[in-house]
Amino acid sequence: MKTRDSDKGLKRQIKLLHDNADLVERIFENRELFVASSETEMMSRIERLKRARIVRTEVQRGGRIVRLTTATQAFCRLNSQRARLERLSINIDEVFSSVDASLERWYDYDAAGRDNEAAEYRDLAEEALEDAEHWFAEKIERVQYEIKVEYGFDERAETHIKRFRSYVARIHELHDAARDFTGRLGGEEYRKVWFLYRMSNRMNVRFQRHAVSMTNLIGELNQYISQLRQRQELTRRSVIFLRWLQRQPQPLHFPLAEAAADELAPAYRFPAIPIAGFPDLNDPVVREQTAEIARDVVKRFKASRSLGRRVSRPASGARRDTAADMASAKRKQLAARAKRWNSKAWADDYIKQVARLALDGHAEGLSAMTYWRRRVASDSSDKQIGLDLPTARGWLNEIVNMALNNRVISDQDFFERFTMDLVRANDQDGAQGLHTPRVSDVVVQMRTAALQALRARATA
């Protein structure tokens, strides 16, 4: 009874193996197979194979990993050896039996001194072997041709990996078959035939060359597979991170990682230093200047607002001519505005002088404070038309502000044409003064490229 049960089980196993040969072969070739839970039809096939102890499964996120049982693997190994040559579609035995038959006739005719017939059978033996060699050469060329197709990352990496693995397997099969072929050809019975001996030597050299090129090719394929695996790992990490991020409460907060942030090298990057480019208002070097400018803006805003309030809300309860007050306040405001120094004109003039100096060969730039001192001391047009003159700090703020906003000058951003050095009150060197935030002067210099463009324009 027991024997009958086991026979029945075996029959069932063989039937299942036969029905699912393609799937089993696929698993055998790839060592394992991932089946997503959504592939219901495939899942039920796998279940049947599992019950027959042909495969075993392992639960994986979103599906199952399927592997062959040890017994099935051993069965497939035996089968694959036989199937290998069938897949290559050449029967080496037939080749050699044809060679043997031709050789027999050749021996007879050669011994009988019938040279013409002997030569005919010699040619036949040689042709059979040459045909076999050509077959190998064609197969090798075909594999090489297919592999030489440029693969990018434009298809699923897994597909590439499977394809490359099959190429590697095919190359190994070809190699094994070629080794069998040359091994048999080098056997004692053929070595003593002088023309086959010479032929065998020539073929060995050619097969050795094939082996070297195939080895190199396998090396390249394996490297490519390795790269694809790395890319798959990158994808896996990115996707897992994204899903994890999506589950985190907002705003995001990583308490453990934040506490250990000083172990993350890219976090040590510092905010931009606005020396010759890319200002960052939060940088400690300019933070105070920024704050000062902001304070000044707020002060002026408050002043103008309070002026408006006084007009609209008289302090005393006395009846006032509101319209007259408003007109008077407006006049005062306009007069104050009219008297204020023209910051834009000053900055433009300063920049023009920087450019002029650069054209005259003074590449070191122009100090903003030098410019301010000269202009204030001169009998400038500002005084003649009754304008206020800026304070040193006000002027400096204007220039720093211009740089901080990367103001457009002649259709180009400030930092595209100029560089700026900050000079601090107690450190004229500049570079060491990062910890002394009080800026006492700035030096604006024209960039070489901008100067060359200016020169070219002047020449034209």
Partner: protein, 243 residues
């Protein structure tokens, strides 16, 4: 270390880029990258002093000069996965504040960067994550996104994190996202006319942040990654074929 160096014409640009806190990689700034990547890195050589001296000597003059300048400012050159950038030399109170600020910035950017590059991954035919050096064409990605309602919606939601749109047109939204990534250094233009873009090394730095957060916060990666088969195989194969 000798300070007598002969810097090239690219030195000012190199220093400006480093001081501006920007990353230098082979894809975004190949010229500057060559200046930095030339020669062995000091912190990678063996510990024997002779070899270290030899390694220093092999650095380009531009790199030697840039490192000297950075040192005078309390900064140094760092490298992560082939991406160079300048960092604080030591972790004093000010640097510590900046490190926290930078980390907070990465945290703030994380949803946009992770989500957008995932959208690009799905829109890009490969289905694999993008890495520095990968290229994509705006119109192709746009077509792929437009052909999928799910991707279009994801794109609009994602980009809304960094920009406001009253009537979101997917193409404009995608363009806005690309502009954002160009400004942040994650992408560089391959050709302005044809709108081809290259993923820059800045993404490798974000990946370092991502891996750091995942490892410290204990984000489960499921099973261990499959072994990089083939990595060691070429040698073995060679032996088997030539025996």
């Amino acid at each position: 270390m000798s300070t007598q160096t002969e810097v090239s014409g690219q030195y000012p640009e190199l220093v400006e880029t480093l001081l501006a806190g920007q990353a230098i990689c082979r894809h975004s700034r190949p010229g500057l990258y060559r200046l930095l990547a030339q020669g062995d890195r000091v912190d990678r050589v063996d510990e024997t002093s002779e070899q270290e001296e030899e390694a220093i000597d092999r650095r380009s003059d531009d790199r030697v000069a840039a490192e000297a300048l950075l040192q005078s400012l309390g900064r140094r050159l760092a490298e992560t996965d082939g991406v160079f950038y300048a960092v604080y030399e030591r972790l004093d109170a000010r640097a510590s504040d900046a490190v926290r600020a930078r980390f907070a910035e990465y945290t703030k950017q994380a949803p946009f960067i992770a989500e957008f590059f995932d959208i690009l991954r799905e829109a890009h035919r490969g289905g694999e994550a993008l890495a520095p050096g990968d290229r994509f064409e705006f119109s192709r990605v746009n077509d792929a996104i437009m052909s999928s309602a799910e991707l279009t919606e994801r794109l609009i939601v994602t980009v809304s994190r960094v920009a406001n749109f009253q009537n979101p047109n997917p193409e404009k939204v995608l363009r806005r996202a690309v502009e954002e990534l160009l400004a942040e250094g994650y992408l560089v233009e391959s050709s302005g006319n044809n709108q081809h873009y290259i993923v820059a090394g800045e993404l490798a730095l974000f990946d370092a942040f991502r891996d750091f957060v995942m490892s410290i916060e204990g984000v489960s990666l499921g099973d261990e990654a499959p072994a990089a088969d083939g990595a060691g195989a070429p040698g073995a194969t060679q032996a088997s074929l030539l025996e």
